[in-house]
């Protein structure tokens, strides 16, 4: 029986089994940001411990930064204190930091792949659950909490429970207007938000094989929304082509040697999986969430489900919060805000798809629309193509790189019970900054179509 990528990476990085039944796993790349680290550095100081491998940790800032006025000190003293703490900590411990004035700054899960830091066969950790994103390049990437950030800083390793591997084989062509976002929303809808607990999801099949790295990043990003700690795609030529020439990728002959090793880390054809699930991509529609977790989605032509016995009151609670009616079509749901951005969908390809939809059209009068690139480099590339103008002409605001309206930690947030069509990854109650704010997750193209229509609409009609 062959081995999975997860098993190969795990074995290579195992330091030793621990008395707790967990494994001490060496972490090859550690990414940090301002939110989950200040306490970790304080814990290091309290212990009088240093950072074991400062050159294997890289820092950026993304969650708390304003995307409009970035003058220091920030208007919000709490945000200012967090960024200052990160500046001080990186300085004191010798950690490279791409701050706001760097053209490499951006959302941590956007810059890792973009800079070529994220590579196949690596173990990666970051104090953020969407670290699963980096699996798109064939890495085993783990979201961790603050005490574990301290552990990685102190020891470049983690105490971690073993994972099972579920292969999710997605086969067939996606119809135009259906994107990677719809594929992962479909997967989470089918497997449930806790379906992946204790598992790594290995995504494969012809649909995934044909996807670009950007699309695979979107799929892997939301693994955690299905409960899976890790999501990955086996490295292939698409991966190697993507990495060639990136700032942190090996160069010249070393790159060719790296490719050989990367290839050898992919799951063997006869690998042993704990579970295999098949998904037919040809029937996937553009999807929209109607509830308060990312598993609660329907195809855009479908109706919102009604409460049923046996759902433990979950549907009723969601409908009540969302102000939606069971049995009604999701299409036509009025929106107030449209947000294109977040580590799920803020790369150049996402902005292009959204811009294609809004080009020559206008955002509905009652809608506030934001387009937020995931990194400075995405912003520059988009501006070079004139995408900022397309968005602005349509009535979108074009912002600086950051997490923005994905979560409630910076000035971009919902007001009251506004409804937001969002290309982000979480529709939890209050996620977008207002306790009663409501989120409808969908692809960037669907967000763009909704912005124009002022309501949920089928992007396949909008562009045809």
């Amino acid at each position: 029986m062959g081995k999975t990528l997860l098993k190969k990476v795990w074995d290579l990085h195992t330091v030793r089994p621990l008395s707790t039944g967990q494994t001490q796993l060496f972490i090859g790349l550690h990414l940090i940001h301002e939110v989950t680290t200040p306490q970790a550095f304080d814990m290091l100081r309290a212990r009088d411990t240093g950072v074991a491998f400062p050159h294997r940790t890289f820092a950026t800032t993304d969650h708390i930064i304003p995307t409009l006025d970035q003058t220091r000190p920030f208007a919000d003293p709490l945000a200012e204190a967090m960024l200052s703490a990160l500046e001080k900590n990186c300085d004191e411990f010798g950690i490279p930091f791409w701050n706001l004035d760097s053209d490499r700054q951006g959302i941590v899960h956007v810059i890792g792949p973009e800079l070529g830091l994220t590579q196949p066969g690596m173990t990666i950790a970051c104090g953020d659950s969407h670290t699963s994103t980096h699996g798109a390049l064939g890495a085993v990437a783990l979201g961790i909490g603050t005490s574990q950030v301290r552990d990685v800083l102190a020891s470049q390793s983690l105490a971690i429970d073993p994972l099972k591997v579920r292969r999710i084989a997605v086969n067939g062509s996606l119809v135009p207007g259906v994107f990677a976002k719809d594929v992962i929303l479909e997967i989470i809808n089918r497997m449930g938000v806790k379906g992946g607990v204790g598992q790594a999801y290995e995504y494969g099949g012809t649909t995934i094989d044909r996807m670009s790295i950007d699309e695979r990043l979107t799929v892997c990003n939301m693994s955690i929304e299905g409960g899976a700690r890790v999501g990955y795609v086996n490295p292939d030529d698409t991966t190697f082509d993507y990495l060639r020439g990136r700032p942190f990728a090996p160069e010249g002959d070393a790159f060719e040697r790296a490719v050989n090793w990367w290839r050898s880390m992919a799951s063997d054809a006869d690998a042993d999986y704990d579970d295999v699930v098949e998904i037919d991509a040809t029937t996937i529609e553009p999807r929209v969430t109607w509830g308060i977790n990312p598993g609660q989605s329907v195809g855009v032509s479908e109706r919102i489900p009604s409460a049923a016995s046996g759902d433990n009151g979950a549907v009723a609670e969601a409908l009540d919060f969302m102000g939606l009616t069971g049995g009604a079509p999701i299409k036509g749901t009025r929106i107030d805000v449209a947000f294109v951005g977040s580590c799920t969908n803020s790369r150049l390809s996402d902005l292009r798809e959204a811009a294609r939809v809004v080009e020559g059209r206008s955002v509905a009068q009652h809608v506030t629309a934001l387009a937020v690139p995931g990194s400075q480099s995405v912003r520059v590339a988009a501006e070079r193509e004139g995408l900022d103008q397309v968005f602005r002409n349509a009535g979108f605001e074009w912002r600086g790189a950051g997490c923005s309206m994905c979560l409630a930690m910076n000035p971009d947030r919902l007001d009251g019970d506004q409804v937001c069509a969002s290309s982000s990854n979480r529709n939890f109650k209050g996620r977008q900054g207002s306790p009663t704010g409501r989120t409808l997750l969908m692809s960037p193209a669907m967000v763009a179509a909704a912005a124009v229509a002022g309501e949920v609409t089928d992007v396949r009609d909008a562009v045809s």
Binding site: S19, T20, T36, G145, T146, S155, L158, V193, F255
Partner: protein, 197 residues
């Protein structure tokens, strides 16, 4: 480095019903805007409490509770350690649930907050019991993997090694991870992307 030994947790309990209660609900993101964990206990379930005046965490009869009883997939979503930190700072010392999200469970363990599981039937029964008699004292014994309330006992589950880590006070991982640092160096030396291609 040895930390506090945790074995018996005794006190009153509090119930939060519902599956998939995510960490954004346990502690909304705006309270993460701080460089310490201090004061998080005051904001636990803040938005849920505002939306639901009868929320158990607002109900004075549960003040001082040490054991939290929950349903399935508690602590899903964001990896914020602030969620178990907020619960712990409010006074919770153990969670008993049908299941927990993995990251939440790991974060809880890292700060010595015990998470044990029990069957759906047991949880339903416990929830009703606590809601009917909030002043009852419950005793959780990790050694026996038993929760005792009102003279009757139910079995709870916790993996042996995790339980032993709490009981022996070795649940703070950093010490353990630094125990044999030469081995860590050895791994760094054999990993091709660190050694150099």
């Amino acid at each position: 480095m040895s930390t506090r030994q945790i074995d018996r947790i005794e006190g009153t309990a509090i119930v939060v019903r519902g599956d998939n209660i995510d960490t954004d609900r346990i502690i909304p993101a705006r309270f993460l805007k701080a460089v310490t964990f201090d004061g998080l206990g005051d904001h636990v379930f803040e938005d849920d409490r505002a939306a639901m005046p009868a929320h158990p965490f607002s109900n004075p009869v549960y003040t001082g509770a040490r054991i939290l009883i929950v349903n399935e997939n508690f602590g899903s979503g964001s990896s914020r350690e602030h969620a178990p930190q907020a619960l712990k700072r409010w006074g919770i010392e153990a969670c008993v649930g049908e299941s927990f999200s993995e990251i939440f469970r790991g974060n809880a363990l890292a700060i010595g907050l015990a998470c044990v599981t029990a069957s759906h039937e047991v949880i339903v029964q416990l929830m009703t019991m606590v809601e009917d008699a909030p002043s009852s004292t419950l005793t959780l014994s990790l050694t026996d993997r038993v929760l005792t309330a009102d003279g009757s006992s139910v079995d709870v589950t916790m993996e042996g090694p995790v339980r032993d880590a709490l009981r022996t006070g070795t649940w703070d991982a950093t010490g353990l991870l630094l125990d044999d640092f030469d081995v860590v160096r050895g791994v760094a030396a054999r990993v091709p992307y660190i050694r150099g291609f």
